[in-house]
């Protein structure tokens, strides 16, 4: 791992990661986000307009997911509460130049926010929108949630899912303890 990678404490969260946390099979995304958010050396940020748009689409997300809107709100609010929502005016100076760092114009705000806070990491599920090499040259890494978790020092080998032999609240605690590396006694 390169030195600049070790120092990257600002994580720019792409909205696709927030939405993907609602996919049933994406348990690792949810765990990764929680551990990234609860590591005091990390700072999670998101463009404010993008976060507001997520909130504006709660009803549509709920309809497509087939769950009550209040539950979607509770879940996504839980994630958004762990991030600093940054007003676009704070990184407007980086916006124009950052257009050259993305393949998808809609990802410009995320790239600009990352450049403003470099060294930093863009945490995304769709790397295709970003020009990884150019961003790396600007002190920004583009990583998936799992890669970001590893990047911040948590080894995936410590993630031991014990759900099969435990139930209810203890299963939740067991997974969390396994993630932070606490060994349980059998």
């Amino acid at each position: 791992m390169e030195e600049d990678e070790k120092e990257a404490g600002t994580l720019v969260i792409d909205t696709n990661v927030l939405i993907s946390a609602m996919i049933r099979s994406e348990g690792i995304t949810r765990l990764s986000l929680l551990f990234l958010a609860n590591n005091p050396s990390n700072r999670l940020v998101c463009p404010e307009i993008a976060a507001k748009e997520v909130e504006r689409h709660y009803a549509e997300i709920a309809r497509r997911a087939g769950v009550p809107s209040k539950l979607v709100r509770a879940g996504l609010d839980e994630l958004l509460a762990k991030m600093r929502l940054v007003d676009e005016s704070e990184f407007s100076a980086e916006m124009t130049s950052s257009k050259t760092l993305v393949n998808d114009e809609n990802d410009t705000s995320f790239a600009a926010l990352a450049v403003k806070n470099r060294p930093s990491v863009i945490v995304t599920y769709d790397k295709r929108g970003y020009k990884e090499d150019e961003l790396r040259e600007n002190g920004v890494l583009v990583l998936t949630p799992t890669e970001a978790l590893k990047h911040t020092g948590i080894e995936l080998s410590k993630i031991e899912i014990k759900r099969k032999r435990k139930g209810g609240a203890m299963a939740v605690i067991a997974r969390i303890l396994a993630l932070i590396g606490v060994k349980e006694k059998d």
């Binding site: 792409d14 909205t15 696709n16 939405i19 993907s20 946390a21 609602m22 996919i23 049933r24 348990g27 949810r30 765990l31 929680l34 609860n38 463009p47 307009i49 993008a50 748009e53 997520v54 504006r56 689409h57 549509e60 997300i61 497509r64 997911a65 087939g66 769950v67 209040k70 539950l71 979607v72 509770a74 879940g75 839980e78 994630l79 762990k82 676009e88 005016s89 407007s92 916006m95 124009t96 998808d104 809609n106 990802d107 410009t108 705000s109 599920y125 769709d126 609240a169 203890m170 939740v172 605690i173 997974r175 969390i176 303890l177 932070i180 590396g181 606490v182 060994k183 349980e184 006694k185």
Partner: protein
């Protein structure tokens, strides 16, 4: 939103291990709460990867349109 309080007990030795790893009771409780909410949401969600991608694209396109208008880009 109405809320309910769910209480559960953790073995003392587990709490001691967690605290020795730098996690306070409050932090552990906070993470457990977040994790539980997200797991319940996901367990009942029918969202698949294609749908998640489509919603995300729509959200980002709308956000970028507003950003351009706000900043005069």
């Amino acid at each position: 939103m109405k809320t309910e309080t769910v209480q559960f007990e953790l073995p003392k030795e587990v709490m001691e291990s967690a605290e020795s790893a730098g996690f306070t009771k409050e932090k552990l409780a906070e993470m457990s709460k977040s994790f539980t909410i997200l797991e319940v949401l996901a367990a009942t969600s029918k969202l698949d990867k294609a749908q998640a991608r489509a919603i995300s694209q729509k959200i980002k396109a709308s956000a970028w349109k507003k950003t351009k208008r706000k900043l005069g880009l």
